[in-house]
Symmetry: C2
Subunit: 119 residues, 2 copies
């Protein structure tokens, strides 16, 4: 049981749209990701999803609006709500999600990662 330093963890990887696992608790996982560019439209049918912005500005597009998230802001996206993250510049996020989740939700694409690497 050791302190996890978020900045140090972000130095360990550079891949975009590829969440890395830094911890598990209560059937949930804590992930870090670097985002840049546009992700795909997708929905998580059974899982709510939390985005907490640690660096940069992330836009999350919904079918009826766009929510802009700046550093120090977070958003909880309820299950079943289709969304598409867009990062005009590189964004660092912390994600909190159930262990079973796929980050591309209901869509399997070349961005889909089957198992998140632990760092």
């Amino acid at each position: 049981m050791n302190a996890i330093n978020i900045s140090e963890k972000f130095k360990l990887f550079n891949e975009l749209w590829t969440p890395k696992k830094i911890g598990e608790l209560n059937g949930q996982q804590l992930l870090l990701a670097k985002l840049k560019g546009e992700f795909i439209w997708h929905t998580h049918e059974n899982e709510d999803e939390l985005f907490f912005i640690l660096k940069g500005t992330l836009e999350i597009e919904f079918r009826d609006k766009i929510v802009e998230l700046r550093e120090g802001e977070l958003l909880i996206i309820p299950k079943g709500v289709e969304h598409k993250p867009i990062a005009k510049e590189e964004v660092h996020v912390l994600l909190f999600e159930p262990l079973a989740i796929k980050h591309t939700g209901n869509v399997i694409s070349n961005l889909t990662v089957e198992t998140f690497e632990s760092i």
Copy 2:
């Protein structure tokens, strides 16, 4: 579904050791707390607990060691592990825990809050 600004939420309360709820997802809750001084020794028998330090330095005392957590660091305390948080100066933390948790765990004290207020 709106962005939650953590700094703005911290301006809404000043009580110490009294977590405020800012969101729920997947049967879990996201809490903010201001801590200063010593909390009580306690254990969560059924819930792992996450402390993420947003300001200040928090010491968490265990029966066999002390873990120091600085801003930008987090710690996951597995269920069943007795612990005691100590904040020499005011500390702001984000907590992530199951909805059913009591922050004083197995101990009922005058610090125990039955239901966390939503802000």
